[in-house]
């Protein structure tokens, strides 16, 4: 019954490694997102992905890359991890349009706490 799921919930890794976080939504939504929440709890959009259109926040390093195998999945790949990448990463999804109305409410996954040592 989980609407937006993420795996793993916790990820501890060494600096320089490459890791992935998976996200799946079963809501039939058109758009998926990745957010980063830093240690001060500030939430910042990283990417949004809609019908194969990727919108990237220009401040996100190119070590971060989203991969969408299908409409229900948007995975986050991170190369050459750095200490500053430690944060909680949230996946979210929303329905762009339905019946002529725009539903922009975003449903969030449980978050993945990434710790880079």
């Amino acid at each position: 019954d989980t609407a937006v799921s993420q795996t793993p919930k916790y990820l501890v890794t060494q600096m320089g490694n490459d890791k992935s976080i998976k996200c799946e939504q079963n809501l039939g939504h058109d758009t998926m997102y990745w957010y980063k929440q830093d240690s001060k709890k500030f939430l910042k959009i990283m990417f949004s992905y809609n019908n194969k259109e990727l919108i990237i926040n220009e401040t996100v390093p190119n070590r971060f890359s989203p991969k969408s195998p299908d409409k229900a999945h948007l995975n986050l790949h991170i190369n050459s991890l750095e200490l500053g990448d430690s944060a909680v990463y949230f996946c979210a999804s929303s329905q762009g349009n339905r019946g002529g109305r725009i539903f922009n409410e975003q449903f969030f996954g449980p978050g993945t706490r990434l710790t880079v040592l």
Partner: protein, 113 residues
């Protein structure tokens, strides 16, 4: 660019009392959505309430209501009859059509018994 400001980093309230969390935003758009999300210690982001800018009537959801002042670009959240389970971070968020959502820095609310 749209910005969202929550001027109260932390607030506390006694159980059963009422508390109001402030949020202001800056935009040149006329059509947009505003949200309040709650993030309890479990870390899950939970939608509390939403408001469409074209609606003048303030949204309400049980004990939660908003005071939406479009001209003033203000969107405050009122929690009535506060409960211990309301203890959480509360984020105000702005979204224009096109799904570009921006969050405020959050207000940490503690409900005291």
């Amino acid at each position: 660019a749209q910005t969202v400001t929550q001027s109260q980093p932390e607030m506390s309230v006694q159980e059963a009392e009422t508390v109001t969390l402030s949020c202001t935003y800056d935009t040149s758009e006329s059509n947009y959505y505003l949200f309040w999300y709650k993030q309890p210690p479990s870390r899950q982001m939970i939608l509390v309430i939403r408001q469409e800018a074209y609606k003048q009537q303030n949204a309400t959801e049980n004990r939660f209501s908003v005071n939406f002042q479009k001209a003033a670009k203000s969107f405050s959240l009122k929690i009535s009859d506060s409960q211990l389970g309301d203890t959480a971070m509360y984020f105000c968020a702005f979204m224009k059509f096109g799904n570009d959502m921006r969050f405020g820095a959050g207000t940490r609310l503690t409900v005291k018994p």
